[in-house]
């Protein structure tokens, strides 16, 4: 058998744009694994999650950092969450599944999504141009997340800090997504 090797080329890798004091970057090696809570097995799943990550699966619309800080749990729906962590190799789902021991259904979502981190004092002013969610710090506190639509694209927006947001969107439309975010900053700066 010939030696073939596969090279990883995530869609937004290397993105680093600056608009004044704001910055748009693509986090490297971001892994995402979805969790589905089995019907009737929600409590057991919650326990297993708490045990595995040292933190409970948060309420819907919230994220929570694992006890060791390496992982973030996102709660997207009544029976659905995401585990988000930095992990380079294409086996994130196995890593999470192993921790949960079958208490929740897991699906690798790493390649389904692409991510952008936007930071800086004018972030909210820029995101206002595409995001229908109220991102006022009182309404959307640090750790809050929302799944919504921006410029015809599905997006999960997470507030990671006062002036920092992480945006997740479908990987196939990554270029259009970046264009939408970039244009928003260009239009307000």
């Amino acid at each position: 058998m010939a030696d073939y090797s596969l090279i990883s080329t995530p869609p937004l890798a290397g993105t680093d744009l600056r608009f004044g004091t704001c910055r748009i970057t693509a986090p490297a090696d971001l892994a995402l694994v979805s969790l589905a809570l089995p019907l009737g097995g929600e409590d057991a799943a919650q326990k297993a999650i708490a045990k595995a990550f040292g933190t409970a699966l948060p309420d819907i619309g919230q994220s929570a950092a694992a006890s060791d800080g390496s992982t973030t749990l996102l709660r997207l729906g009544i029976d659905q969450g995401f585990v988000m962590f930095t992990h380079a190799t294409p086996d994130a789902e196995r890593v999470v599944a192993a921790k949960l021991g079958g208490a929740a259904y897991t699906t690798d979502q790493t390649d389904v999504w692409c991510a952008l981190d936007v930071t800086g004092p004018d972030c909210r002013r820029a995101l206002e141009r595409i995001c229908p969610i109220d991102l006022h710090p009182d309404a959307f506190t640090i750790g809050s997340l929302a799944r919504t639509t921006m410029e015809h694209l599905g997006v999960i927006v997470i507030r990671t800090d006062t002036d920092s947001f992480r945006l997740l969107s479908a990987s196939s439309s990554a270029q259009s997504f970046l264009h939408a975010v970039e244009t928003s900053f260009a239009n307000v700066m």
Binding site: G61, G77, I78
Partner: protein
Amino acid sequence: MIINHPLLGPRDAAEFVYLGDASLIDRPDWQDPDAAEKFYEYGYLRDNPAGQHQELWYHEQGDRSWLVVTRDTLSHEITKVELARDVAKARGRDK
């Protein structure tokens, strides 16, 4: 329009996809002796009220939940929003 999602709070209706009358939850039994008639009525006949209407909305650009929204078709006022799965269960669709 704004739909006050029971889990997520107010969201623009643009995030949702509309299906129709919440009677679509009440899918008839295929083995009912009147199945043909019942499926016809289920599939085709609507109360279409001018007033309070229970209807199905899907939060496609959100948490993917189906909701039963009680909305006035004259004023668009929304008086109740429930998770469709809860409504379905309450209507005995737990099989």
